[in-house]
């Protein structure tokens, strides 16, 4: 489940004039726009879940295993216990996005710190930090997440932490690579010559330039986090107190033959979320690299 490491782009002679602003460049990519729209819808759903479905979505409200579109009260049907799937999807959007964002944020913070520290310090610190990064990259991610979750218990905090812990290495690598390429640039050397403190240089000069690709990668980390959470829930280690999409898939697993919509609906939801994140990530990447063009 690694994020695609290369979004290779290349220079090309252009027939049409190049769009000037970032937003315009982003909008040119139809897939990215579609992805952004879907993402926005999901976020809206997550935000309004409490208003649309005020009661606890884990409450049993109706007869079990009602098919979607059979009853107007339960447009997406009910699950094996009689809970409203639409409510679970709405509240699940909240949990899913939260896990994704927090895990990605954690991974980004860790990754950027380590990558920046390694690139800036150089020498043996760099070597050690890179070995640590490699260490975390070697351990198969799913295994690590499972182990951490069984150590800390099936709670949303543990799952988020576990996912964050496996997602930071690619960010660290990318940050380091970006930092290294900027470190030797003229404007940085000028700042050093002037006597700016390293921290100021990093914060004011390097980071703003190095961050964009990192942000792109973070969007893919969010997607990965969502997938990891669904795997953990599928294998039965999900948090029983939270309505998450992955958990719904896990619970529907034994009913896959008679009421397969219980698995299918949240599965499609996960797919849409991950898909839109990927498309947006691609769009961001294209828009942020004006010199390089996909076509």
């Amino acid at each position: 489940m690694s994020a695609s490491p290369t979004l290779a782009t290349l220079p090309v002679a252009r027939a049409t004039p190049r769009p000037a602003s970032f937003a315009a460049r982003f909008v040119r990519n139809r897939g990215a726009v579609a992805g952004a729209v879907v993402l926005l819808l999901i976020a809206l759903l997550a935000a309004s879940a409490g208003w649309l479905y005020p009661t606890n979505p884990l409450r049993i409200v109706g007869a079990p295993e009602i098919w979607p579109f059979e009853s107007w009260r339960y447009p997406l049907g009910t699950d094996s216990m009689g809970r409203d799937i639409a409510a679970l999807i709405a509240h699940g959007a909240r949990a899913t996005l939260l896990i994704g964002l927090v895990a990605a944020a954690a991974a980004t913070v860790i990754g950027v710190s380590i990558g920046a520290a390694a690139a800036w310090s150089g020498g043996w610190i760099d070597e050690v930090l890179m070995r640590v990064t490699e260490l975390f990259q070697i351990i198969p991610n799913v295994v690590f997440v499972l182990t951490v979750v069984s150590v800390l218990g099936p709670h949303i905090e543990a799952i988020t932490l576990a996912v964050g812990l496996v997602s930071w290495p690619p960010i660290a690598r990318l940050t380091r690579a970006e930092f290294l390429s900027f470190k030797e640039r003229e404007f940085v050397q000028a700042s050093r010559a002037v006597g700016m403190s390293p921290l100021r240089i990093v914060a004011a000069e390097i980071l703003p330039n190095a961050l964009p690709p990192v942000i792109v990668m973070s969007s893919l980390v969010v997607a990965g986090a969502i997938l990891y959470e669904s795997v953990v829930s599928f294998l039965g280690l999900g948090d029983p107190n939270i309505a998450s999409w992955g958990r719904l898939v896990g619970e529907g697993r034994s009913l896959i033959r008679s009421s397969w919509y219980i698995c299918a609906v949240p599965g499609v939801a996960i797919m849409l979320a991950v898909l839109s994140l990927n498309l947006v990530g691609d769009g961001l990447n294209d828009a942020l690299n004006p010199k390089l063009q996909k076509r």
Partner: protein, 548 residues
């Protein structure tokens, strides 16, 4: 496979299309032989010899093929094909001779004489004698697998090669002893291969040698184990089949699909979600049978930790029970496959069941008022908080945990729900006693002592041992009652004592069976004779045969 009269054309075509069954078009064979039988799997004509059967159960691969201390249902299935017991409890709840021809009590019931079957040999050719039985009683059963049941055993002797005498220091009811001797963990291992070595870690447990109809063939870990026919089995002509394969699937949906395609022929102990049974039976390829589980009646329990405040008060427990709708649990979580339990003795137990016990019908208002009367009113939205630990080794337990959370919250009790995996559950519930209310399971044979009674007696409190008295409940009245139950030899008096036990257990309610879970078996339509015992998972499958 021939066409039974009521099979429609479509079903017939589906079968031939699946191609998993033998040639069709056997119009020459008499219809009577294949008439639709009323009992699924019951004897339908002379047993046909030959063939391979693939069997499984509703769980996973065991850690060893034979686990001396128990190890649960998985090694129970694998070991009972190779290793045998002295007696067998059949589907009509009568004891049949297996390796023992008779078990006779003395007049004072303080000793029993066992006559062994002659002409039995172990798979390696050595003869089976009373020395083997004595070894097992003293070195295997008493110390490891049946310590509590054989508590009063003082000695086992072998006056001759076919006779064993067991002596006890207290009277032992006949049904109780016979139940023990035919029980789940009283398998016989060869003395000449086990004596002098540590039973628990003997590598032979992975390649067992026994007297049974099947010999160990090959174990492909992660997949299946193959058993060969024992040509020198003491019952000539059996086993009917040539080869037996026990295979494991980690996913219930795959098991169902395997039954449909014919890859799997026999699956005990709830192999598929109850939801799928009707669908599978409708295909015409699979039959369902709910008989054969009387001696292993499963239940799901709510257990109240007597060491914690609030739940250690009887009136609180009784109030909580009124908040639980057991019928709803049966209907929703078990898909109607079961019935609400009213006491630790189940309706499937004709010997000891009684309806004359205190009941706690679903009545949330009553629950609320009882809690108010107990001095636990609603303050700031809740009365008190409990930590509910659901052992999630069954999916239903996890669901039950969620339902209980909701049910209790509806009467104002806040619930912190932990749905934990097997290792954590064993530690928290039976090791650390770290819970207020626990959701767990046990399975009960017909004989109440000690399996069921140990949940209620003081000597059943054994820290660290799973499926014992984990609640810490201790009542001198209960201990005395069970003490009498253990040594009362007159059947009627025993039944009366059992009824008293049920009443006391249902009054103090430290551990409450909520549902009598119905177990079922699924088999291919051509499998015969797979339900002849009262605990079918442990059948030797010697008399199973496959219709052509």
């Amino acid at each position: 496979m021939t066409q039974a009269p009521r099979l429609g054309r479509r079903a017939f075509l589906t079968r031939t299309a699946a191609g998993s069954l033998a040639a069709t078009g056997l119009g020459a064979l008499p219809q009577a032989l294949y008439a639709a039988t009323a009992q699924p799997g019951a004897d339908a004509g002379p047993a046909r010899k030959g063939g391979t059967l693939v069997a499984t159960w509703g769980g996973l691969e065991p850690q060893a093929l034979f686990v001396p201390g128990g190890g649960g249902s998985s090694p129970f299935q694998t070991s009972t094909k190779i290793l045998e017991r002295l007696l067998k409890l059949d589907a009509d709840l009568k004891f049949q001779p297996a390796l023992a021809l008779s078990v006779t009590p003395a007049a004072d019931f303080r000793s029993y004489t066992i006559k062994l079957r002659e002409g039995v040999t172990w798979h390696d050719g050595a003869p089976f004698t009373s020395a083997d039985v004595v070894y097992n009683v003293l070195q295997h059963w008493k110390p490891i697998s049946a310590g509590i049941a054989l508590k009063s055993l003082t000695d086992a002797t072998a006056p001759d090669a076919q006779t064993v005498v067991l002596t006890f220091n207290a009277p032992v009811p006949e049904f109780f002893l016979k139940s023990t001797l035919s029980g789940q963990y009283q398998l016989l291992v060869p003395k000449h291969l086990y004596d002098g070595k540590d039973l628990i870690t003997n590598p032979l447990n992975n390649t067992p040698v026994g007297t049974g109809p099947w010999k160990y063939g090959k174990w492909v870990r992660g997949s299946h184990v193959e058993y060969q026919r024992n040509d020198k089995y003491w019952n000539p002509g059996e086993p009917n089949l040539d080869k037996l394969v026990i295979r494991w699937w980690s996913d219930p949906a795959s098991r169902g699909a395997a039954l449909e395609t014919g890859e799997l022929g026999l699956a005990y102990s709830n192999p598929v979600p109850a939801r799928d049974i009707d669908r599978l039976v409708k295909t015409g390829k699979v039959v369902v049978d709910t008989r054969g589980y009387q001696n292993t009646a499963w239940t799901v329990t709510a257990e109240f930790n007597q060491r914690r405040d609030i739940v250690n008060r009887r009136e609180v427990r009784q109030a909580i029970l009124h908040a639980i709708d057991r019928q709803f649990i049966v209907d929703t979580i078990y898909y109607g496959r079961g019935k609400p339990a009213i006491a630790p003795i189940f309706s499937s137990n004709p010997l000891f069941f009684t309806e004359d016990v205190p009941r706690y019908p679903f009545d949330p208002k009553k629950a609320a008022s009882l809690l108010d009367a107990a001095g636990l009113p609603v303050k700031d939205g809740k009365r008190f908080t409990v930590n509910l630990v659901a052992a999630a080794w069954f999916e239903e337990n996890a669901k039950l945990g969620q339902y209980l959370k909701q049910a209790l919250e509806d009467v104002g009790i806040a619930v912190k729900l932990d749905s934990v995996d097997r290792a954590t559950a064993l530690k928290r519930i039976y090791g650390d006693y770290d819970y207020d209310i626990a959701v767990s399971n046990f399975t009960s044979p017909l004989e109440l002592v000690p399996t069921v009674t140990q949940f209620f007696t003081t000597d059943g409190i054994v820290k660290g041992a799973a499926f014992r008295n984990a609640t810490g409940y201790s009542s001198p009245e209960m201990d005395a009652l069970v003490g009498k139950l253990a040594v009362e030899t007159a059947p009627d008096a025993r039944k009366a004592l059992a009824a008293q036990f049920a009443r006391l257990a249902s009054t103090d309610v430290p551990i409450v069976p909520l549902v009598e879970i119905q177990s079922f078996t699924l088999a291919g339509k051509n499998v015969r004779n797979f339900t002849t015992g009262a605990n079918v998972q442990g059948e030797t499958l010697a008399d199973v045969w496959l219709q052509a």
